[in-house]
């Protein structure tokens, strides 16, 4: 017995109805961009381990960069609208979402939130159009989950600052025009706006990645980089600065991975209905249906959680604990969905012809960056028990 399907894997719970018109328009426009211009090429970018820099201008023209910021040519969209953009981009590829997240949330946001008027005027309008690309340098070779142990220093020389150290795993590092670099000073950890053409600044790309391949990841080398006094972000003091910035980006991740999971579910459902073995569609076997039931549950829950977090952010009730919950839950769900989708697609599932293995591989990065899965577990454990288990 076969009937028309009654659940739409693209929007299982009809969440569309809970979106405002402008949010839906923003979402649909991004979806169209992904379908028409990105999906036809993304497998090739992934295979060649690159992403065209020109995309930034295109994204800028469309208003994707710094979408959720006010002024300086940015749209001032709601957190939910920004999240939906991330969701659609990541339904394409995590690398594309990262390109936009890093620019808007990790590079523009700290300048917007913590920067001086001069820093904002100099960088934000050009970053909003994609003319200038930004990156965010916190992680170091010996300082990942424990950023407080960073070794990069900024010392005074007269009124100037001298930055010295090394940053690792920096998305968009070698294509950036400006780096927001976090360094240790006599006055604790501070952020610096570093034009990448400053003497002493160099980058080296990280090769051989098996995840997030449609994205540039680099090492930043800061060899006594001399900066004027005005290079420091006046509004950020201590680790709270970079942690606030990461929190901003994580909301986009909660939405983004729900998009990747949705894309995997859609691919799996489509495949299960059309691929035949033993004389019937593989979707007719109970084991396959069990997998689909598990996947659709995860996707629906992830979408619902993301939307709830977006609305809480708008209402001003969102806390870092909530964002940790969102990242912890949604990324592991998305990874589970991608891996299961991979099995449903059989041998085809391991190729770039289909999106599932690409998503599964990408999500390994998402599990680790922006706070590892384990670190978010510790945040949640502490939030529930009041007992810190970090050290």
């Amino acid at each position: 017995m076969s009937h028309d399907p009654t659940l739409n894997p693209g929007d299982v719970l009809g969440l569309d109805a809970d979106l405002r018109d402008d949010e839906r328009e923003v979402r649909d426009t991004t979806r169209r961009l992904v379908r028409e211009k990105l999906l036809p090429n993304v497998a090739e970018w992934f295979e060649q381990a690159t992403v065209p820099v020109e995309l930034m201008r295109e994204f800028g023209a469309l208003g994707l960069l710094g979408l959720h910021l006010d002024g300086y040519g940015c749209a001032g969209a709601s957190p939910t609208a920004y999240g939906l953009v991330c969701q659609e981009l990541e339904a394409g590829d995590t690398g594309l979402r990262s390109l936009v997240s890093v620019q808007g949330s990790l590079a523009m946001f700290p300048i917007h939130r913590f920067g001086s008027d001069e820093q904002k005027d100099e960088w934000l309008p050009r970053m909003a159009t994609g003319e200038a690309i930004g990156c965010f340098g916190l992680t170091e070779p010996d300082s990942g989950s424990d950023p407080g142990s960073m070794r990069t220093t900024a010392r005074r020389d007269g009124t100037d600052w001298i930055l010295h150290g090394q940053k690792m795993w920096i998305t968009n590092g070698s294509i950036a025009d400006v780096a927001v670099v976090w360094a240790r000073t006599d006055d604790g950890i501070r952020g610096f706006v570093v034009p990448t053409d400053t003497k002493g600044f160099s980058t080296q790309d990280i090769h051989g990645k098996l995840s997030l391949r449609a994205s540039i990841t680099s090492e930043l080398l800061l060899d006594d980089v001399r900066l004027p006094e005005t290079a420091m972000l006046p509004g950020a003091r201590g680790l709270g600065g970079p942690l606030t910035v990461l929190g901003e980006a994580r909301l986009g991740i909660c939405f983004g991975v729900a998009g990747a999971a949705r894309a995997c579910l859609e691919a799996a459902v489509d495949y299960a209905r059309t691929r035949e073995q033993f004389g019937k569609p593989i979707g007719a076997f109970q084991l396959t249906q069990g997998k689909l039931a598990e996947m659709v549950s995860r996707v629906a829950a992830a979408q619902l959680l993301a939307l709830r977090l977006g609305r809480m952010k708008e209402a001003g009730t969102l806390t870092p604990d909530h964002v940790s919950l969102g990242k912890y839950s949604n990324v592991s769900s998305a990874l589970e969905v991608a891996r299961t989708a991979r099995t449903i697609l059989g041998g085809n599932g391991i190729t770039l012809e289909y999106p599932v293995m690409r998503h599964a591989a990408n999500l390994e990065t998402v599990l680790t960056y922006e706070g590892t899965h384990e670190v978010h577990a510790l945040v949640l454990g502490k939030a529930l028990t009041g007992i810190s288990a970090f050290t």
Binding site: D22, E25, T29, A61, L62, G63, L67, G73, A75, A81
Partner: protein, 264 residues
């Protein structure tokens, strides 16, 4: 300085099944609505005229006649680049036919006195392909349909029309009403910033009284076309399906089929 009015219509989303409601004789327009996709080509044409400097355009105004939900179509038009919009909405407009819609639009256009009116070639629901012509008639301006290329020289437009066989090249002097074919351009993506800002751009909402439009010429009252009934198109005989198992054999079968019918 030049002003362009673009006629835009709200239509049911392409995914919505369209049917005539037999109790009212009108199209059932329930379900998700969107901006008529053909009208995005008219907006794009206006923006290209403005951006290329071919015309010294200082304003692109989107105009619609439709129910209160049609503001969504206007928001979309503005997010694509129109500067402001006008919405004529009135209970007395319900059931307007092409002529009534054309009359109401013409009255709105007179209030704006633009130099150029652009429309889509057809709506995705009514599909009369006729509103542009009705508007031109009421205004007494030259009207052209199916235009797929527009060149401007001063007050003269040289238009290429897609005709049944080949193309017509037609010159018109402004003001004029031009319905553009969807081959004229590739509409841009709306910028997300414009989408978020669309509700802040001026939108003028008018009733028939506000616009001094004669209510007897629109709606049920002014309707000249009346829907009397509909039927399914006659079913076509099912085609013959040839399974391609052995290509040489398949080709032979196709050739034999064509030969039987004296087609080759």
């Amino acid at each position: 300085m030049t002003k362009i009015v673009v006629l835009v219509k709200e239509v049911p989303d392409a995914a919505v099944q369209k049917q005539v409601d037999s109790s009212t004789g009108r199209l059932d327009r329930s379900g998700e609505k969107t901006l008529n996709p053909f009208d995005t080509h008219a907006i794009e044409a206006a923006l290209q005229l403005k951006e290329s400097g071919a015309l010294d355009v200082d304003e692109v105004v989107a105009v619609t006649v439709g129910p209160s939900s049609a503001v969504k179509a206007l928001h979309k038009a503005v997010s694509l680049g129109a500067d402001r919009s006008i919405h004529l909405t009135d209970d007395a407009l319900v059931g307007s036919d092409v002529v009534g819609t054309g009359y109401a639009l013409a009255e709105l256009i007179k209030r704006e006195s633009p130099d150029l009116v652009l429309a889509g070639q057809q709506s995705d629901d009514g599909q009369s392909y006729a509103v542009g012509a009705a508007v031109a008639e009421y205004l007494g301006w030259p009207g052209l349909t199916q235009v797929i290329k527009l060149d401007v020289d001063g007050q003269t437009l040289t238009c290429e029309r897609q005709a049944e066989y080949g193309y017509d090249t037609v010159k018109v002097t402004l003001p004029a009403v031009i319905s553009v074919g969807d081959a004229i351009n590739e509409p841009r993506y709306p910028s997300l910033k414009a989408i978020m800002g669309a509700k802040k751009k001026p939108l003028e909402s008018l009733s028939l009284g506000d616009a001094e439009i004669d209510a007897s010429k629109v709606g049920e009252a002014g309707r000249k076309a009346v829907w009397t009934g509909s039927q399914e198109p006659p079913a076509k005989a099912a085609g013959e399906l040839i399974e391609d198992e052995d290509t040489a054999e398949t080709v032979e079968k196709i050739v034999a089929w064509l030969d039987d019918r004296k087609l080759i």
